[in-house]
């Protein structure tokens, strides 16, 4: 009765089974680099590339979190305003602790940022899963709430970080380790941890199952509520990490911090190869997606073809094209 199945050659085949969604973003990245070089040879200089990738770090870190949410079949529009809110509250906390704790206020503030971020994500998650509200609406609501809170906290102006902390905090954005800027290292670390979560741990399996087919997951005894809520909490933690990196960049939080980041984040995830309707998440593709977005913005600045004021417009076009490709590639 049993079939003859040779197992050794089969496993090889499995390893080589790589689809367009896996390599597409990296090919696009490569093509973009070549185009950039043709347009302006300075584009490929180490300084320029280093700057571009450093700038893309915030989006990359948040987008790694969004990969979890989108993979599990959710969506989070609140990430931009959540980042602003966390930045603001972190600075306020550090400033108030600085007189007493001195420089220890910085790590304490970072821990608090992570706690607040995770809590915000958890709240988004619970509204979506327990409250059974469409992710789009739920996070549209919290997006407004976070934005209002940062505007209220800053009184419409800015919340600057205390002078005594500024120098010590600077290296988190401007520093380098072994010639590579710190934000780049942090985003690589976040992506590495995330891909371990998503590809090596049970949770990743559940996440992809819930996103690919909620019914199958339910009938397999997987808790949709738990799985999706955790994804939102991870998203919140990622937003907090991005906020921590963002504080020294401008040294302040303003009501316009993180505006339209949700567009860039979702675009990065989608061009990274993760389907917006859920399913398998592509963490490294997402990182490539974030870099692609920043490269395009950089190219627009370096060349004179398109005004840099149109950057958001170009990003909007990219996400629509990426969605069309996903749709018609099926």
């Amino acid at each position: 009765m049993s079939t003859l199945v040779g197992t050794t050659p089969l496993r090889h085949e499995r390893d080589w089974n790589i689809g367009w969604a896996d390599v597409g973003p990296f090919l696009a990245l490569l093509v973009l680099l070549v185009i950039g070089f043709i347009i302006n040879p300075d584009f490929l200089s180490a300084t320029n590339l280093g700057n571009v990738i450093t700038r893309s770090a915030f989006i990359a870190i948040i987008a790694v979190g969004a990969t979890f949410v989108i993979s599990s079949g959710g969506l989070d529009l609140s990430v931009g305003s959540m980042a602003a809110f966390i930045t603001g509250i972190t600075i306020l906390f550090m400033n108030s602790m600085a007189p007493e704790w001195g420089l220890a206020a910085i790590p304490a503030g970072m821990v608090m940022a992570l706690v607040i971020g995770t809590a915000c994500g958890l709240m988004n998650g619970l509204i979506v899963t327990v409250g059974k509200i469409e992710p789009f609406i739920a996070t549209l609501g919290t997006m407004g709430i976070f934005r209002a809170l940062i505007t209220f906290m800053s009184d419409g102006g800015t919340i600057p970080i205390d002078r005594s902390l500024r120098e010590a905090y600077r290296p988190v954005y401007f520093g380098t380790v072994g010639g590579i800027s710190v934000p780049i290292l942090i985003s690589i670390a976040v992506a590495a941890v995330a891909s371990f979560f998503l590809y090596k741990m049970k949770y990743g399996r559940k996440c992809a199952a819930v996103g690919a087919n909620e019914d199958v997951a339910r009938y397999s005894g997987i808790s949709i509520i738990k799985t999706r809520t955790i994804a939102y909490a991870i998203q919140g933690a990622c937003v907090a990490i991005a906020a921590i990196c963002y504080v020294p960049r401008l040294g302040a939080a303003t009501p316009t911090t993180g505006v339209l980041w949700e567009l860039q984040v979702i675009t990065a995830v989608v061009i990274g190869g993760t389907a917006l309707r859920g399913g398998k998440g592509h963490v490294w593709g997402t990182v490539a997606g974030a870099v692609i977005l920043e490269l395009i913005a950089n190219l627009m600045v370096l060349s004179d073809f398109v005004s840099e004021y149109l950057v958001a417009g170009v990003q909007g076009v990219i996400i629509i094209i990426a969605m069309l490709i996903q749709k018609f590639a099926k």
Partner: protein
């Protein structure tokens, strides 16, 4: 065969007894329909005359709905012809059938919830006056049309606010706005309660009196007996015969609908006595689907659940599994178990194979190993980190144990044939090591060779001391496989058959009419 003789003589009865004065409204000649290599309807010839209610009965999958789809333009016949009032017609779209005077009343309610009764009635063919929509006339006509059908809802009420029965009448009224010669009702009473059924049956008789021809598709034999002038029986896509309604008892109908010999598909029945009670269900209620469900399944027993589609069988087990809101007492080996979450039910030792393999059972885009272990992740990966080698070994084992045929271990679940998907699903559920295995429609869409294998696996499961519950719409499958069969109708268990009483005829009676036999 005696059935054939009866068929012939009864047909003659029809011809000589009440020869119609007019020609048939519908004459279908040799209608066949193939889907790929599968023939779902084969050489059906049928006449329907004006002023006549012609019922079509048959088991699930007998070809009733295919026949209806051919007549109403939703599908084109592979061969054969349709004549309407003596004219040869070909329908490639439902509109063509409508233009020829064939009106189909769907089983499901296809109305726009957010629009009013009148708007729904005239949707897509609004009356215009001076370039504007003429609401007043439409409302007036709506009242007229609806009261003809005995329906008195206000025309400006939203469809979502009126009762299911009224919605159906609106749907019928909408169908009857066109000129009609032949009205086809597809299981019209499936969603209705007793009084509403009466109202609908009266309406159908009224249509008949007005000279319309009516095709009535149903598996409710009591209704068929009351209404039908003629009854045509389909079985396995073939017309068994057309009989005068008055000559046919419900018993006869059930006998004609089933009555085929069982192939040697099923393993020899085991003659061991069933063991201790395993799964005991007391007073289970699945709101909207089933009530008063109580039964006991014993160790080493194959217990069948029969009933027509919509009888609530699947919902009962989805309720027990915590996949659907339900309440009642469920005990497993004497322990009361929590039926609020699928995880709890699985951990307690109940495994459920869904009837919807592709939609709810397997991740078709995924490879086999993740599918196989999805219900048993914790068992496979006790720590947070996954152990892929273990998983791969389990897959190799499952492929061997369940004889899953595949090209490589790296294929995706969607690339497997139906039979192999079912074996994978069985392997997946068995990985949770359940003591009770519930298999819903074990062989739906599966070829005969895989069927035989699945049956053998079911026997192996009970041989290992597990309890097996088989839910199926195929009566002969249940008879061939089960030790005992519970029959459901309209959300209740109407009886139990076992031993000599385990015949298609007895099951069909319990599944379709109010007759209840003693459960012994």
């Amino acid at each position: 065969m005696s059935a054939a003789v009866v068929l012939q003589s009864e047909k003659d009865d029809v011809r000589h007894g009440e020869r119609p004065k007019m020609g048939p409204v519908l004459h279908a000649e040799g209608l066949s329909k193939d889907y790929g290599p599968v023939t779902v309807l084969s050489n059906v010839t049928l006449d329907v005359f004006p002023g006549e209610i012609h019922a079509i009965i048959g088991e699930n999958g007998a070809g009733k709905s295919t026949f209806m789809r051919l007549l109403s333009g939703y599908a084109e016949p592979t061969s054969g012809t349709i004549e309407i009032a003596g004219r040869n017609v070909r329908f490639s779209k439902p509109e063509h059938a409508q233009n020829s005077g064939i009106v189909l009343v769907h089983q499901e309610i296809l109305l726009a919830d957010g629009l009013t009764v009148a708007e729904n009635l005239f949707l897509g063919r609004e009356l215009m006056r001076n370039g504007m929509v003429d609401d007043r006339t439409m409302r007036r006509l709506a009242v007229e049309k609806l009261s003809e059908l005995g329906c008195h809802v206000k025309p400006n009420r939203l469809v979502r606010d009126i009762s299911l029965a009224d919605r159906q009448l609106v749907q019928i009224a909408r169908a009857l706005l066109d000129d009609y010669k032949l009205v086809i009702f597809d299981e019209p009473t499936a969603v209705l309660t007793g009084g509403e059924v009466e109202r609908l049956l009266a309406l159908i008789l009224q249509l008949k009196r007005h000279g319309a021809a009516v095709l009535y598709i149903s598996h409710r034999l009591d209704e068929v007996q009351r209404l039908a002038d003629k009854v045509s029986v389909l079985r396995d896509g073939k017309l068994v015969g057309t009989y005068a309604g008055s000559n046919l008892s419900q018993m006869d109908m059930a006998r004609l609908m089933v009555g085929r010999d069982l192939a040697a598909l099923y393993p020899q029945k085991r003659n061991g006595a069933a063991g201790a009670p395993s799964l005991e269900v007391q007073g289970l209620v699945v709101p909207g689907y089933a009530r008063d469900i109580s039964f006991t399944a014993r160790k080493g027993e194959i217990l069948g659940f029969a009933g027509m589609i919509g009888a609530g069988r699947t919902e009962v087990f989805e309720g027990i599994m915590g996949l659907r809101a339900a309440h009642g007492t469920v005990t497993l080996d004497g322990q009361t178990i929590d039926i609020r979450s699928p995880r709890a039910a699985m951990d307690a030792g109940i495994g459920y194979l869904t009837e919807d393999r592709k939609g709810k059972g397997l991740l078709l885009q995924e490879r086999l190993a993740p599918n196989l272990t999805l219900s048993a992740l914790t068992r496979f990966h006790p720590s947070l980190v996954m152990r892929r080698a273990r998983e791969q070994a389990a897959l190799v084992d499952a492929v061997d144990t369940y004889d899953i045929r595949l090209k490589t271990l790296g294929v995706r679940a969607g690339q497997l044939s139906g039979g192999n998907q079912q074996k994978l699903l069985l392997a997946k559920v068995l990985l949770t090591n359940p003591s009770v295995v519930v298999i819903d429609e074990p062989t739906r869409g599966i070829d005969i060779a895989n069927k035989a294998q699945i049956y053998a696996f079911v026997h192996r499961l009970v041989g290992e001391g597990r309890t097996c519950i088989v839910v199926s719409s195929e009566m002969q499958e249940l008879i061939g496989l089960c030790d005992r069969i519970l029959v459901m109708r309209e959300g209740r268990i109407t009886g139990e058959v076992s031993g000599d009483r385990m015949t298609e005829h007895d099951i069909a009676l319990l599944a379709t009419s109010n007759v209840t036999t003693a459960a012994e």
